[in-house]
C-alpha cells in the first residue's frame, strides 16, 4: 500500500462527509418548513394532502431508484437540459445530494410529526389565549419539546443518511465505497478493500453515536 491509496481514501472520506452534511443540513431545513406549514395557521387540507403524497412517494421507493431518477432521468428532460439548471444537474454530486435531501426530508417529517402529535394540546390553546402568534408558538413551545423527544430516533436517521451516501458510488462519485470498489478491482483483493471500507464506516458511525447520543444530551 503506497501513499496514493491514503490520498484517495482521504478524498473519499471528504466526499462522503460533505455529501452527508449537505443532505442533512438542507433536509432539516425543508423538514422545518414542512412542519411549520402543518402546525400553524398556514394549514390547508390540500397542502396537507400534497405533503402526505410526497411522503408516501419517497418512503415507498428505494433510495437507489430515487438517485437514478434524479441523475439519469432528469438529464433527459429538455427543461433541465437546455436551461440554466444544467449548470447544477450535470454534476453527480448535486444530484446525489438532492436525492438524499429529499429522502431525509420525508423520513424526518414523519418522525417529527409523530412526536408533535404526542404533545398535549392544552399548551397550544393556552398560548393562543395569551395572544402568541403561531410562529412564536411553533418555535418556542412545539418545536423544543418535539426536538427533545425525537432526538434518539433522529440520530438513527442521521446514521441512515451516512450509510446511504454509499449508494452514490453507483452514480460515479468516488466517495469511500467508490474508492474501495476501484481498489478492489485494481488489486483483486476484495476482502482487504471492503474490510477497510467497513472499518472506516464503523468508526464514523461510532463517533456519531458517541457524540450525539451520549455527549450532547449531557449538555442540555
Amino acid at each position: 500500500m503506497d501513499i496514493t491509496l491514503l490520498n484517495q481514501i482521504i478524498k473519499g472520506l471528504y466526499l462522503t462527509i460533505s455529501l452527508a452534511f449537505f443532505a442533512l443540513f438542507s433536509g432539516f431545513l425543508f423538514t422545518f418548513i414542512l412542519l411549520y406549514i402543518k402546525n400553524s395557521n398556514l394549514y390547508n387540507k390540500y397542502i396537507n394532502l400534497l405533503i402526505n403524497a410526497f411522503c408516501f412517494l419517497i418512503r415507498g421507493t428505494p433510495t437507489l431508484i430515487q438517485i437514478f431518477i434524479i441523475y439519469y432521468g432528469l438529464s433527459e428532460l429538455s427543461i433541465i437540459n437546455n436551461t440554466f439548471l444544467w449548470n447544477a444537474f450535470q454534476y453527480p454530486f448535486f444530484c446525489a445530494a438532492l436525492a438524499l435531501m429529499i429522502n431525509n426530508c420525508a423520513y424526518s417529517y414523519i418522525l417529527f410529526q409523530g412526536t408533535i402529535n404526542s404533545i398535549p394540546k392544552e399548551q397550544i390553546f393556552q398560548a393562543q389565549l395569551l395572544g402568541l402568534s403561531s410562529f412564536k408558538i411553533f418555535i418556542k413551545i412545539i418545536f423544543p419539546q418535539a426536538l427533545k423527544n425525537v432526538w434518539g430516533a433522529y440520530v438513527n436517521e442521521l446514521i441512515v443518511i451516512v450509510k446511504a451516501t454509499s449508494l452514490a458510488s453507483s452514480i460515479t462519485i468516488l466517495e469511500l465505497t467508490g474508492t474501495m470498489n476501484k481498489f478492489a478491482a485494481n488489486t483483486f483483493q476484495p476482502l482487504l478493500a471492503y474490510g477497510l471500507c467497513a472499518i472506516c464506516y464503523y468508526f464514523i458511525n461510532l463517533a456519531i453515536i458517541i457524540l450525539f447520543k451520549k455527549l450532547i444530551p449531557r449538555l442540555f
Binding site: 415507498g60 428505494p62 437507489l64 431508484i65 465505497t177 476482502l191 474490510g195 471500507c197 467497513a198
Partner: protein, 221 residues
C-alpha cells in the same frame, strides 16, 4: 410515444418484479432463521459469546448495505477461488438472499428480544409447576406470544427489505431495477422506465402496508 417496443420492455420489467417478490419472501424466511440464531447468541448467558456476537452484530448494523453485499459476494468468491484453485463463485441470487437475510436478522434481534421481555414470566413458572417439558413451554407458550408482540417490528423490517432488493441489481441479479436499466439504456428514455420501476415498488409497498395495518389493528378483512 408508447409503442410496441415500450410495451415489451414494460412486460420484461413486470416479469422481473416477480423475481423481486421471490427474493423478498426467501430473504424473510432465511432472515427469521438467522434472527433466532443471532438473538440466541447476543443474549446468551455465557460471557464470551455474549460480547463477541454483540460486537459483530453492531458492526454489521453500522456498515452500509452495499458494502456488506459487495464484501460478502466478492469476498466469498475470492475465498472459494483460493480454496478450490479454479474460479468458483456463489450464485448471485443466493448471495443476495443471504446478505439481505443477515441485515434483516441484525435488526430483528432487538425486535425479538423486546417481544420476549413482554411475555409474563409467571406463565412459565406455572407451566413448570404443571410439569410441562421445556419443548412444550417453548412451543405452546413462548412462541405464539413472541409472534404476536414482534409482528409490528418485523413487518416494518420486511418493508425495508423489499426496498433493499433494489441494491441487488448492482450484483447482476435480474430484478426490477436491473431490467429497467436495460430498457432505459436501450431506448434512451431513462425517466420513463425508472419511474415505472419506482411505481412497481410503490405498488408493492402500498399493498404490503395495507395488509400489515389490517393484521396489526385486527380489523375486518
Amino acid at each position: 410515444m408508447i409503442d410496441n417496443i415500450t410495451i415489451q420492455y414494460i412486460g420484461q420489467i413486470l416479469l422481473a418484479s416477480c423475481n423481486t417478490l421471490y427474493i423478498t419472501i426467501c430473504s424473510i424466511f432465511v432472515g427469521m432463521v438467522f434472527a433466532i440464531i443471532f438473538s440466541l447468541a447476543k443474549y446468551n448467558l455465557t460471557p464470551y459469546i455474549n460480547k463477541i456476537s454483540k460486537f459483530i452484530i453492531n458492526f454489521i448494523i453500522s456498515i452500509p448495505e452495499l458494502v456488506v453485499l459487495f464484501g460478502f459476494y466478492f469476498g466469498t468468491s475470492f475465498l472459494l477461488t483460493k480454496f478450490y484453485g479454479t474460479y468458483t463463485e456463489l450464485n448471485n441470487v443466493i448471495a443476495g438472499i443471504i446478505t439481505l437475510a443477515i441485515i434483516f436478522a441484525s435488526y430483528a434481534t432487538e425486535v425479538l428480544y423486546a417481544a420476549y421481555l413482554k411475555i409474563n414470566k409467571e406463565q412459565i413458572d406455572t407451566a413448570k409447576l404443571l410439569g410441562l417439558s421445556n419443548f412444550t413451554i417453548g412451543y405452546k407458550i413462548i412462541f405464539p406470544q413472541l409472534i404476536k408482540y414482534s409482528l409490528y417490528g418485523l413487518s416494518n423490517l420486511s418493508l425495508i427489505l423489499l426496498k433493499d432488493t433494489a441494491l441487488l441489481s448492482l450484483i447482476g441479479v435480474n430484478e426490477t431495477l436491473a431490467s429497467a436499466k436495460i430498457a432505459a439504456s436501450a431506448t434512451y428514455s431513462p425517466f420513463f422506465f425508472y419511474s415505472i420501476a419506482a411505481g412497481i415498488y410503490l405498488c408493492f409497498s402500498a399493498c404490503a402496508e395495507y395488509f400489515i395495518n389490517k393484521i396489526n389493528n385486527k380489523q375486518k378483512w
